[in-house]
Amino acid sequence: MSTITIPFGPQHPALEEPINFIFEVEEEKVVNVTPRLGYIHRGIEKLAENRTYLQNVYLAERICGICSFAHAACYSQAVEGLLGTEVPEKARFIRTIIGEMERVQNHYLWLGLTAKEMGFETLFMYAWRDREKMLEILELISGKRVNYGVNTIGGVRCDISSEMLEEIKDKLHQLEERAEYYKSVCTKDQTVLKRTVDVGILAPRDALELCAVGPTLRASGVARDVRSDYPYAAYGEVPLRVVTYKGCDVFSRILVRIDEILVSTGIVEYALENLPSGPIRVRVPRAVPEGEAVSLVEAPRGEDLHYLKSDGSEKPVRLKVRAPTLANLLPLCKMLVDVNIADIPVVIAGIDPCIACAERVMMIDAESRKRKMWSGEELRRYAIEWYQKR
């Protein structure tokens, strides 16, 4: 039986962002898959080295449009760690609240997209309509629907006043109801079940070995969550349940995310009830003492990691971002083997990919068609040599 190679992307209706997969297909089954990144590299890490620590908060926010808060919070935490700043209690609570709100809107967005990949347009329209409510809440608090600009080094910039509480709670309640409804739709609708149950299997062992993160990992039955394992912001003080399902398939990933919506709205409600009073930010010096810091945040898509190196000046020496999608790419390739061509989009959507987050430097040798990752030092040397030759 001969194999056919089918290119998937970088331009494809099922992909919101450019990435390329080369599928080797036998009849309708995928036997091998090669991912190829590099279509949307923006050089953000390099850019960060030329800006001050404060400017970089807003740069970090733009790594990803959907989990913008997670990246900014992660970066701010790293800087605060280097400075030794104690963030005020109220700011920690507000960070938790906005983080969970972002999770809710992301999961709604994801539910809609996955429904669209299944050809279930009506669910797509409904989920996105309901997501608007969360965006309205975020707009009410921060003035923006995406890239909220809430974080700053040493705290947050927006306060949640008591006049907003009623509207926020009302909308949260509606979002909760809709999430319950979608759960019943997804567990009862035959077409959804047919397209997702036992599709894109990722065994718990594979998930751990290939370093899957976030809802993808939790849908394989592994209870790992930065929020409970290494609590940051106010996560030690709010009720948190780590949702896991043991199905290891796309269906479990749907259930994990819908349940997480319910958990998140619970956390937001609790945090709003118990919102402490006091200042929301503290002043910090512009220059950061020499050192290295690693910061972890549970973004909606999974564990987000920022590494920061400082030499005592006003600008960082190195910022390294490991976005959750990058960690989930290898598990994705594992899931894609042995699925039907028709199931490819659903499985890819299942990890909630955000390609722009994941883009880092990768060199591809055009002649031997080999690819390798370069370290920053190698890249620097290559750049110097290249310019000398000119």
């Binding site: 290119p7 209706p13 309708e28 050809g119 279930f120 347009e121 609708d189 077409t191 047919k194 061509i341």
Partner: protein, 330 residues
């Protein structure tokens, strides 16, 4: 009987050839069918939009009613590309043939009167044959456009045909057995006097609606097009004028599907004596309403799931219906 006398006078004054020509070109011929196709597309889009909590077409004409026509004109003005490796002649002919195959069976369906423009004993068989040819034509069109996505789409069209064609043709024969004639017009006339076949053969009607969804390649059976999977499938290389014609042909197929449901199961033009065209239109809209409703309800099936479902459920149900008709031939 003022109206009948007027008709007789008209028949005497206007030569028969001219009337036939006018009927063919204007009503209920090409012009009417094409306008109807655009209208039905608008109706379908607007309806599904309502179900999905959207607005749908809004700007061209009142309530966006001219939007399908505007889309058609826009596509006509677009660049017309033929892929370098495509088999040119069949690739160019494919949209024309598809349009012809969609419009021809409509002449055998009674629209303005209890008898169709082209009516003879056995025209039901011709309609079935042309509908199957359409699916085969898609396979050929996909194959000659030499695109990997369209090849997959074309093969899926062929596979889908294996699934829905047999039950569809079986349940189309049901009303014919009950009437004792293989003419669509005769089936309509039979129901005008008696009872609608949807009441005596409800099972057949349900199976027929499901099979038509598969024939029209609409959700949940839009497997050969499956935009998110194979980027439009067999359609992928067609653009400009060709795509415009193909879209018009697809609209006409929707009209054909609704008309067949109307004629075979809902009594066709029968009902009010002098307003048969209006009766037909109302019933057609009701049928399109059913088809649109189903489109908004489901996610897409996979091709293997469709085939298993068709052979496991649709074909036995269709056979059961035929058996019941044989036993109780009303």
């Amino acid at each position: 009987m003022e109206w009948r006398r007027a008709q007789e006078v008209r028949d005497r004054v206007v030569p028969e050839e001219v009337t036939a020509l006018l009927q063919l070109a204007l009503f209920p011929g090409f012009l009417f069918l094409i306008v109807l196709a655009f209208f039905i597309e608008w109706f379908d889009r607007k309806l599904v939009a309502k179900f999905q909590n959207r607005y749908g077409p809004l700007h061209v004409g009142p309530k966006g009613i001219l939007q399908p026509f505007a889309d058609f004109v826009k596509l006509l003005s677009k660049e017309d590309i033929t892929p370098e490796f495509a088999d040119r002649t069949p690739f160019l002919l494919m949209p024309l043939l598809m349009f012809a195959l969609a419009v021809t069976p409509l002449f055998s369906v009674p629209i303005a009167d209890h008898s169709a423009l082209v009516s003879f004993e056995g025209d039901l068989i011709v309609v079935m044959f042309l509908m199957t040819l359409t699916a085969l034509l898609l396979l050929v069109g996909a194959w000659v456009s030499t695109n990997r996505f369209s090849t997959i789409g074309g093969i899926r069209t062929g596979l889908q045909l294996f699934g829905y064609e047999i039950p569809q043709n079986l349940v189309m024969v049901g009303p014919a057995i009950a009437t004792g004639s293989l003419s669509v017009s005769r089936i309509v006339q039979q129901q005008t006097g008696g009872i609608w076949f949807v009441l005596t053969q409800p099972l057949g009607f349900v199976v027929f609606a499901i099979c038509l969804l598969a024939h029209l390649q609409r959700v949940p059976f839009d497997i050969p097009e499956a935009e998110t999977e194979i980027v439009g499938g067999w359609l992928v290389e067609f653009g400009g004028r060709k795509l415009a014609l193909i879209r018009l042909a697809k609209d006409l197929e929707l009209v054909l599907a609704g008309s067949l449901m109307t004629s075979l199961y809902l009594g066709g033009t029968g009902g009010l004596d002098s307003l048969s065209a209006l009766v037909y239109l109302l019933k057609l809209l009701a049928c399109v309403f059913i088809l649109s409703n189903l489109r908004a309800l489901f996610a897409r099936y996979r091709i293997d799931q469709l085939l298993v479902g068709a052979w496991k459920y649709l074909i036995p149900l269709a056979l059961l219906q035929i058996g019941l008709v044989e036993v109780f031939p009303w």
